[in-house]
């Protein structure tokens, strides 16, 4: 019997017990993670945890376990919650909405709708062909990758509630404002004409219709596996680079060049972040290490947003439906929004 079949076969009571045991195991593992590595590396192996090698290795092992646990837990919960929402329902909610309120709703729905950037193109066509305004569609497409469960899980685990809320607020703002600006620019002529000519036929299938709790839980378990399989290389590289910075980079190196005193720091961070292709999992261990080295939060959040929101592979996909001119404008508007958010946070905090 596979895990999925066992869940299918489970009775409601057994399912509840299973979930309870899983949650308890999760909390215990999360709590013993630091003492365990302190003990293993410090007492058993006997390395100096304050030294470069010791602190680097400790950071790598401790962070790998912690991040994997956080991701597993939060992806599961978010997937189960999101199984109540669907792109089809989102489109129905956005249809006929004007710009303004539409952008706000689109950004919010972008956060809660289960969506992967691999579906960006069919969703774009589906939205626009159904009459959702271009700018509103853009708000959805910006918010969706920017505020994702992986980013939220890691931000919360590594920095706590405050920076997480800041990031979510900033992400929503960037998505709403960028969508409004793109809508105002009247860019419809830079959309490939076939998008408007697409006739929506066929019965729209709501992919979440008729799901049982068993199905939702199974989807959650599968999603954890799928995402972890997909992002672990990024995670290992990210934590590795983070560990190197943690253990070896001179204490004031980054603070000198990208610290609060450098007025161009946010601009540079965004310029570096846009072409970088990674995801929240790869970038956050790095952000954590840089934060420890004294970089301001606004600069770091702007860097992270630039990496997560704008990625070359997604832009290449979007080229199928958007002409180069619109893609360039899209990148420019979103990047400008992120830069502003970065400066704002650096000024306020």
């Amino acid at each position: 019997m596979t895990v999925a079949e066992r869940i299918q076969a489970a009775t409601p009571t057994r399912r509840r017990v299973g979930l309870g045991v899983a949650a308890a195991t999760w909390f215990v593992l999360y709590e013993v993670n630091r003492p365990f590595w302190d003990w293993l590396l410090g007492d058993v192996v006997g390395v100096d945890l304050a030294g470069r090698l010791g602190s680097g290795v400790h950071f790598f092992l401790y962070d790998s376990v912690k991040i994997t646990l956080l991701l597993g837990g939060i992806i599961f919960v978010v997937t189960v919650l999101r199984s109540f929402m669907s792109v089809e329902r989102t489109r129905a909610l956005l249809g006929g909405k004007r710009e303004g309120l539409g952008n706000v709703m689109a950004a919010g729905l972008g956060v809660v709708t289960p969506f992967c950037s691999c579906s960006a193109v069919p969703a774009f066509i589906g939205f626009v062909a159904a009459g959702v305004p271009l700018g509103v569609t853009m708000s959805f497409l910006i918010a969706s990758p920017l505020i994702n469960e992986v980013a939220i899980a890691l931000l919360f685990g590594l920095f706590g509630l405050g920076p997480t809320l800041m990031y979510v607020g900033a992400g929503l703002t960037v998505a709403i404002v960028s969508g409004l600006v793109l809508g105002r620019l009247r860019l419809e002529r830079w959309v490939e004409p076939f998008v408007f000519e697409t006739r929506l036929g066929g019965q729209v299938v709501d992919s979440t219709a008729g799901l049982t709790w068993g199905d939702r839980i199974q989807m959650g378990v599968e999603e954890v596996g799928t995402i972890l399989r997909k992002i672990w290389p990024y995670l290992v590289v990210g934590i590795g680079v983070g560990a190197v910075i943690h253990g070896w980079a001179p204490e004031d190196f980054f603070a000198t060049y990208a610290g609060a005193d450098n007025p161009f720091a946010v601009l540079i961070a965004v310029a570096v972040g846009v072409p970088l292709y990674s995801n929240a999992a790869g970038i956050l261990p790095l952000v954590e290490a840089l934060y420890d080295k004294g970089l301001p939060m606004g600069t770091l959040l702007a860097f992270m947003m630039a990496v997560v929101a704008l990625s070359l592979p997604e832009l290449i996909l979007l080229r199928r439906v958007l002409k180069p001119r619109l893609i360039v404008t899209f990148v420019g508007v979103v990047a400008a929004g992120i830069v502003m958010v970065g400066y704002l946070f650096n000024a306020v905090l």
């Binding site: 999925a4 669907s86 792109v87 089809e88 489109r91 289960p114 969506f115 992967c116 691999c118 579906s119 193109v121 069919p122 969703a123 066509i125 589906g126 939205f127 062909a129 076939f194 998008v195 000519e197 697409t198 006739r199 929506l200 036929g201 066929g202 019965q203 729209v204 299938v205 992919s207 989807m219 199928r320 439906v321």
Partner: protein, 86 residues
């Protein structure tokens, strides 16, 4: 029956195609399986999350990849009339 697998060629679409072929083989039905990779055509079916599965021009699944057993459950009742069991 005519089965179409909708998807631009991502990993999920390949997985769905494999699951579908397995399901068809194990049900022993005669089906023509076609891949649809054109975005306009995919969107034309009303599918916004790939991959999608279309049977005789009806969308039966979108946005997730079931197991071969899952596809079999979907196909079995639809195969009714046109099925030819060996």
């Amino acid at each position: 029956m005519k089965i179409k697998v909708l998807g631009p060629g991502c990993a999920n679409c390949v997985n769905l195609e494999r699951a579908t072929r397995e399901a068809v083989a194990s049900l022993g039905i005669e089906a023509e399986i076609e891949k649809v990779t054109d975005y306009a055509a995919i969107a034309g079916y009303g599918v916004m999350r790939t991959p999608g599965l279309v049977v005789d021009d009806q969308v039966v699944l979108s946005g997730r990849v079931p197991t071969a057993a899952g596809v079999r459950e979907i196909l079995a009742p639809l195969a009714g009339g046109g099925a030819t069991r060996p």
